[in-house]
Symmetry: C2
Subunit: 317 residues, 2 copies
């Protein structure tokens, strides 16, 4: 069998790359950077890759709307793309410098860095550390945290520092002066692992997460599988949304998240994304199947976007 091919959002050594490397850590696979989420979805639909690993939500910033819009699939371009797994990556930032620039490390750091590089979002995530040790130091926005590490790795005379992950530091061969400089220790991004529902190569491979999340953020609920369903309703019918949501409860499915995106058919009409969890008891084995059947009676459109092992539930600990 040829090696598996897995798409992620580049550049190399991005957080998406790290999540992909960790979630496919035990499986022999080629990890392939793509320039956009849409290109990764298209590659999967065309079976140019076997899987794609795409961020869908961050615990601080909320949902990734570009991912929801691709899952909404308003043009029916990605009809065979389905969710088969999830991966939680806790976002840790490090202060990085060129290899050997500060032989004593952080303990011996002399305050001589004159310019810092990182992605605009990372400044805000490391505010406490930066205002304590780097007040007034010039900040240069770059297109990714990985890019900042790369710039610093190629410096000769400059005194630059980058804020990026340990993964990016190792990839670009730079020194870590200080680890975990982020304000929130629990800032976590959830990635969805996607496959093509028609691809035989991935049909038999049950996705197992090698590294469970390190933080103690598991609810006590014994949910072991999650399902993502999108639907649209007749907005002119009073109670239509409530009627759809009640169906989940009536089949013993616990609603774990709800998102909406504009339908783009008519203003103020939405595509709803509902994630529901299922406990592993015997009597509700067909709960998702039955709920989908009922949903089709009260919705305008309704799509099953996949079922996968819940990585936060107690039973998978």
């Amino acid at each position: 069998m040829t090696r598996l091919r897995v798409a992620f959002l580049g550049p190399l050594a991005s957080f998406s790359h790290q999540a992909t490397a960790e979630s496919f850590g035990k499986i022999s696979a080629d990890l392939l950077p793509h320039a956009s989420f849409a290109e990764a979805f298209a590659a999967l639909q065309q079976k140019a890759v076997d899987y794609a690993v795409i961020p869908c939500e961050n615990s601080t910033n909320g949902s990734v709307v570009q991912t929801l819009d691709l899952l909404a699939d308003r043009d029916d371009s990605y009809r065979d793309v389905t969710v088969c797994g999830e991966y939680y990556l806790t976002v840790h930032h490090c202060l990085l410098a060129r290899k050997g620039a500060y032989p004593g490390g952080w303990a011996g750091y002399d305050g001589s860095i004159t310019k810092l590089y990182t992605h605009p979002q990372a400044w805000g995530q490391c505010e406490t550390f930066l205002s304590r040790y780097f007040k007034g130091v010039e900040r240069q926005d770059v297109s990714s945290t990985s890019k900042g590490a790369e710039i610093v790795s190629k410096e000769t005379d400059e005194k630059g520092g980058a804020i990026a992950s340990r993964f990016a530091a190792e990839y670009h061969g730079v020194d870590i002066l200080q680890e975990n400089i982020e304000d929130r220790a629990d800032n976590t991004t959830r990635f969805l692992i996607l496959r093509n529902v028609l691809a035989e190569r991935t049909a038999q491979l049950e996705f197992e997460q090698p590294n469970p999340p390190t933080l103690d953020d598991r609810p006590t609920l014994e949910t072991t599988h999650k399902t993502l369903i999108s639907f649209t309703i007749d907005h002119s019918s009073a109670g239509a949304l409530a009627n759809a949501l009640i169906i989940f409860k009536s089949h013993g499915l616990n609603l774990t998240s709800i998102n909406t995106r504009p339908s783009l058919k008519k203003p103020w009409q939405y595509i709803f994304f509902v994630e529901c969890g299922r406990t592993p008891s015997d009597e509700n084995k067909d709960a998702v199947h039955k709920a989908l059947n009922d949903l089709r009676q009260v919705t305008e459109t309704c799509k099953d976007l996949g079922t996968w092992k819940d990585q936060l539930s107690a039973n998978n600990a």
Copy 2:
């Protein structure tokens, strides 16, 4: 009585300014630009202004998460801010040039514009027009569409064009070469009109929208009032979200939208924003009050964010 003061997101002649001018068109008021949504909220909380007009949702791009985060009010900074109205602004773009630069207008346009200015989002909204008439012409991003109009208004020798609203054209005194150059005629932004619940100056002034939306996007439903409620639930309790949502239906309230934002207390726990509509029948006059009482039994926190006249419902046409 001194004139009313109304806060909006600047600069002058922004879409927020236009929405504010139109919604307060018949009322004598000072319209005051603010540098951020947070500053407008703070001014309202401190009663430095009487109202604030803040975008909450766009029919193409979806919810404005910054506004939801301010309404979430995790630090209890804006406890007295409440929603008292809404206004729908259909986004129309025009091609603008310096006054007198093209006396024949669009009919006599000679193709000599060499540089275009607008906000990054507007390029994508006018793609069809731009690719037809301005292929290859240099594009300069600016911080707002109004800023683009201002730059063009001050040109002397350059051949610049701006993409902005008719409102910005009139404000900056530039010529409109072509109107309605946007791809989607129905691209609409919904603004919330906010007041301080403790302010006596605004207590008696029922907010009336002078210009109803021009597009035929009204559902046939006879909803006449909408209420926004935020709540958090115990995520470890199965069915907690469904139980909260069922309460709206049981009191005859129609769910018109649902949004979520991270709670920032614990990852994967959310603040829910539910908007519900109420028909004007007599028997459910206290429906919102009763629903809130019931909600408080099944939620961890629950906040009434205001009730206002639904501007899309048939009864207000």
